[in-house]
């Protein structure tokens, strides 16, 4: 590093007006075709009855195409993604999104391919999706996958609905009321369990970062429908007693659900299917490099370990999968979409799947091969432990849970000492990172760590960038202890100063749309 200073970061500050404040009456940003004269002649007037005909046009702004282009281009300059620099959000796996996959998915010619088209006309895309299912099954050690769910949480919902169906088919749903979830879990886990009608039982983590096994034993019983767990956990620690946990849950005929958010930490080294999991979801937009798009789209395929669950009626666990599965029909030589049958909860979205992100993942896996995927994990784990080592002893930070244990793909720092000693919080640290042109870690999560900064660099990050990141954290620490008031002024290099989130949520201020804002100005809402 040799005394190198942190790079200066200056984000654009466009003061870009809202699109409603741009343009002028009469402008249009696209040349639409005219309705053919003969078509007009044949059809005549529009005959929509007054009772349902729009009385005044929607109040949309009127911009030329160049205005639209500049407006949104300027907005992109006030955003930040992996293409700009490190985005070490923990449990988000913000890896590089290679443009070759963009090219092959965004330009795949699927713009005009309807999801209900005759299967004979979509053999190409079905073959690709069939292979992807198979690869994902092999990667996770499971038997059958569906690509149907649109996101990780959607996959979770699919999974817990399978658990519900399982107990229904076995005639024991009335007593199987509980889903057990560790206290380090993502918020989506309890939310998904609740959406599937279960009661959520939380179990604590032990100081070593594993689930507190004694506490788990005390809550597992006849009412246990299943357990949802992330492994490695959100602390970045591998659950060492996973086999005992699986045995315990299975003893009471519960099902084990694997939250795949952290698959990047073990890919190629261990598979949920081998650990005793019955159902697993995969975050395509995390482990398999499809871009996160500022919040989505992603894809959340689920994979299951198949087996007969009702020999009398011949019902298999795979019969309970919601959504479509791509199958190959040997007789006709065709790939087909198998629709959900009578024991499935049905559909969780209107049609097949988020094909574009899935195609992106296909390209990624194809290019990596098994060798590359294992290296991905090795590098992700290596860089995390390197970062952790460099952060040891930095004043104001602590690394709680699992002392002396190696991390997998992520590590959770705590800024609690700094917050206690000088009042500089995890949020302040995050804003200080932004000023140096870095995105911040996930703040205040997992909930069991006070002033948490959950950090995941992924294999995409270079050691130099991680070193720079650490240098910046050290600088932040120094400033925090010398002049804590300065930390409260961060960020200063971003397009705006610190946002007043409390005010944005105040009942007298809250404005979820331009329309509400205008009404407020006119005094029409209070």
């Amino acid at each position: 590093m040799g005394g190198e200073t942190v790079r200066v970061y200056r984000q654009a500050r466009w003061s870009e007006p809202l699109v409603f404040e741009l343009g002028a009456p009469g402008r249009v940003g696209i040349a639409l075709p005219e309705v053919e004269e003969e078509v007009k002649k044949v059809v005549g007037e529009i005959r929509i009855p007054e009772s349902i005909r729009r009385s005044s046009p929607p109040n949309l702004p009127e911009l030329s195409e160049v205005e639209v282009t500049r407006h949104f281009t300027n907005l992109t300059q006030m955003a930040y993604g992996v293409d700009n620099g490190p985005v070490p959000l923990g449990s988000c796996t913000m890896k590089f999104n290679p443009r070759i996959a963009w090219d092959l998915s965004f330009n795949s010619g699927l713009d005009l391919v309807h999801p209900l088209q005759d299967e004979r006309t979509v053999q190409g895309v079905l073959e690709v999706m069939y292979e992807l299912q198979k690869w994902l099954a092999n990667i996770t050690g499971m038997d059958i996958c569906t690509l149907h769910p649109a996101a990780g949480a959607h996959g979770e919902l699919a999974g817990v609905l399978i658990i519900r169906k399982y107990h229904e088919v076995k005639g024991q749903l009335d007593k199987k009321t509980d889903i057990i979830i560790p206290d380090s879990a993502h918020g989506t886990n309890p939310a998904s369990a609740a959406m599937a009608g279960f009661r959520v039982i939380e179990v604590p983590s032990a100081p070593d970062g594993n689930v507190d096994f004694e506490a788990l034993k005390s809550v597992v019983g006849e009412s246990t429908a299943g357990l949802m767990i992330t492994n490695p956990s959100t602390l970045g620690l591998f659950e060492e007693r996973i086999l005992d946990i699986a045995d315990l849950i299975h003893k009471y005929d519960g099902l084990l659900y694997y939250d795949g958010a952290n698959l990047n930490g073990i890919m190629g080294y261990a598979r949920p299917g081998d650990m005793g999991f019955d159902i697993a979801h995969i975050n395509i937009h995390k482990t398999f490099s499809s871009p996160h798009g500022g919040g989505g789209p992603g894809a959340g395929p689920i994979c299951i370990k198949d087996r007969v669950i009702d020999p009398e009626r011949g019902i298999k666990l795979s019969d309970l999968i919601p959504g479509y599965v791509v199958v190959y029909d040997k007789e006709s030589g065709l790939y087909r979409l198998k629709a959900p049958g009578p024991y499935s909860p049905g559909l969780l979205r209107s049609f097949f799947a988020n094909t574009i992100p899935l195609l992106w993942a296909y390209v990624y896996i194809l290019m990596m091969g098994p060798q590359g995927l294992r290296k991905v994990t090795e590098h992700a784990v290596l860089i995390t432990n390197y970062f952790m080592k460099l952060m040891e002893g930095v004043r104001g930070f602590d690394i709680p849970y699992g002392k002396g244990r190696f991390r997998k793909h992520e590590v959770v720092l705590s800024a609690k000492p700094m917050a206690d000693e000088v009042g500089v919080t995890a949020e302040d640290v995050a804003k200080g990172l932004l000023d140096a042109g870095f995105y911040a870690p996930t703040m205040y999560f997992p909930l069991i760590v006070k002033e948490a900064l959950q950090t995941e660099f992924t294999e995409s990050e270079t050691p130099e960038n991680v070193e720079r990141y650490v240098e910046r954290l050290k600088e932040i620490s120094r400033i925090a202890y010398e002049n804590p008031a300065k930390a409260k002024e961060w960020p200063v290099n971003t397009s705006v100063a610190r946002i007043d989130v409390a005010k944005a949520n105040h009942p007298r201020y809250v404005a979820p749309t331009w329309r509400v804002y205008v009404k407020r100005l006119k005094g029409e809402v209070t």
Partner: protein
């Protein structure tokens, strides 16, 4: 890095994985993943392109709708959402460095709010089906204690299956109001009988699954409100250039599919679930999904922030209004770009093109002797065509169209047995007069042998 960490090899970092489940390199590399070896970009491109070339090339976009449609995708839309600052960003958890992203999402919410005449729009759901299901769950929370939801039999049958899956764990009574066989619209008299004090919500899709414009949509809302049930409206956004907005009809919640707004069909997704409600905190507090709001920086500049987050899973966990986290933000931005391009007059013109093209097709099919007079009420851009009187199975008609490079409409006889050999044909700005003429000519030949 190994030296700093104090290990000899990277494998040591995995020693906490129990040996019985730890994969050896050899075992892993034997698995069928990709082509079992890394490949270059050039090879990947060749492999993927070759596979996708097995999709059949059609002479014109499919005449198929049923909730999503072959619409134009402007290159500008694709360009903006391909810019790395948006494409590769995460959910804007760090507000100050994500203002442009949040402004774009706020603008999506605001543009959609104008189209719908609804005050609050979230930053996206997965698609129309899941948005409808979430709307039903929201209505059940708002009208706590009520256990029934009335839906029209002529709503999209795929959406029905989504609503059924989402509500199944909660013991909700879903009741389907029949449609009027003559008009194609929901039967008001029958609907009235079904809506009662236990009804949490009444749903109406317009245009309905048959493409028919529900001329009495407003009355449906009144029936719901008479019993203090919420009125949920499901919409096709382009049709709102011509049709009354959910806000004008008195809807409490509006849902719909954003796919027609420059997203492409993409064989199933990503799409864009539209979700809106009135600015009534009793409703807003029960709304699912992320919302971006106007904000101010501490130095008084205009800014944007994620608001009302106490509804969401990362804060409320099992008490959240939904489990949704990753949504379809980029697709919302795509829709915002397209709506900005269209503007006030463009959306009307686009709606008119769709209306005209479909009505031209209807006339021409009628002239050709095809049975298109299934329902009396006007339609927007799709309508059912019955082959019952031809003695032909629709699958035969479909196959013969396909032989000519044309993909016909969606067979709906499985969903509505009373309609028999009937298919739903859709027309958009991508179907020019000559495409429609070619379709009608082909159908004439298939049915009447030339």
């Amino acid at each position: 890095m190994l030296d700093t960490i104090g290990v000899k090899s990277v494998e040591e970092l995995f020693n906490d994985i129990p040996p019985s489940i730890r994969l050896s390199r050899e075992a892993w590399e034997r698995l069928e993943i990709g082509v079992r070896r890394p490949v270059s970009e050039i090879e990947a491109k060749r492999i993927v392109t070759e596979k996708l070339s097995k999709n059949k090339k059609l002479k014109m976009p499919p005449f198929m709708g049923g909730g999503v449609y072959p619409h134009y995708v402007p290159p500008l839309v694709k360009y903006i959402i391909s810019r790395g600052e948006f494409l590769t960003a995460y959910t804007p958890y760090q507000a100050e460095i994500s203002q442009g992203l949040m402004q774009a999402l706020f603008e999506y919410q605001s543009l959609m709010a104008e189209l719908l005449d609804m005050d609050v729009v979230n930053a996206s759901m997965y698609d129309w089906g899941s948005a409808t299901a979430e709307a039903v769950l929201m209505a059940l929370r708002v009208n706590k204690g009520r256990g029934k939801v009335v839906l029209p039999a002529n709503m999209n049958p795929y959406h029905k299956r989504v609503v059924e899956a989402y509500t199944w764990p909660h013991g909700v009574k879903l009741v389907y109001a029949p449609y009027n066989r003559e008009t194609g619209g929901v039967d008001l008299e029958e609907l009235k009988k079904l809506v009662d004090e236990d009804t949490a919500a009444v749903y109406l899709q317009y245009p309905n699954f048959f493409g028919i414009i529900e001329a009495e949509a407003k009355a449906v809302g009144e029936i719901a409100h008479d019993k203090k049930a919420l009125f949920i409206a499901g919409v096709y956004p382009i049709s709102l250039g011509l049709l009354k907005s959910p806000g004008e009809l008195g809807a409490d919640i509006a849902v719909g599919e954003g796919q027609p707004l420059g997203l492409g069909l993409n064989y199933g997704g990503p799409y864009l679930g539209i979700f809106a409600t009135r600015f009534d905190m009793n409703l807003v507090r029960q709304m699912p999904g992320r919302i971006i709001g106007l904000a101010e920086s501490k130095t008084g500049e205009r800014g944007f922030a994620m608001i009302l987050q106490t509804r969401e899973q990362h804060i409320r966990r099992e008490k959240a209004t939904s489990n949704i986290c990753t949504n379809e933000a980029l697709m919302a931005i795509a829709a915002a770009v397209y709506l900005s391009m269209l503007g006030k007059s463009g959306i009307l013109k686009l709606a008119e093109i769709n209306y005209y093209r479909a009505h031209y097709a209807w006339r021409k099919m009628k002239e050709a002797g095809l049975d298109v007079e299934i329902f009396k009420w006007d339609f927007f851009n799709e309508f059912p065509v019955s082959f019952n009187k031809t003695g032909l199975k629709y699958s035969v008609v479909h196959d013969k169209l396909l032989e000519r490079g044309i993909h016909g409409g969606l067979y709906i006889g499985d969903f509505y047995r009373e309609l028999g050999e009937t298919a739903l044909y859709a027309f958009t700005e991508l179907h020019f007069k000559e495409d429609i003429d070619a379709l009608v000519q082909a159908l004439r030949e298939i049915v009447y042998g030339g």
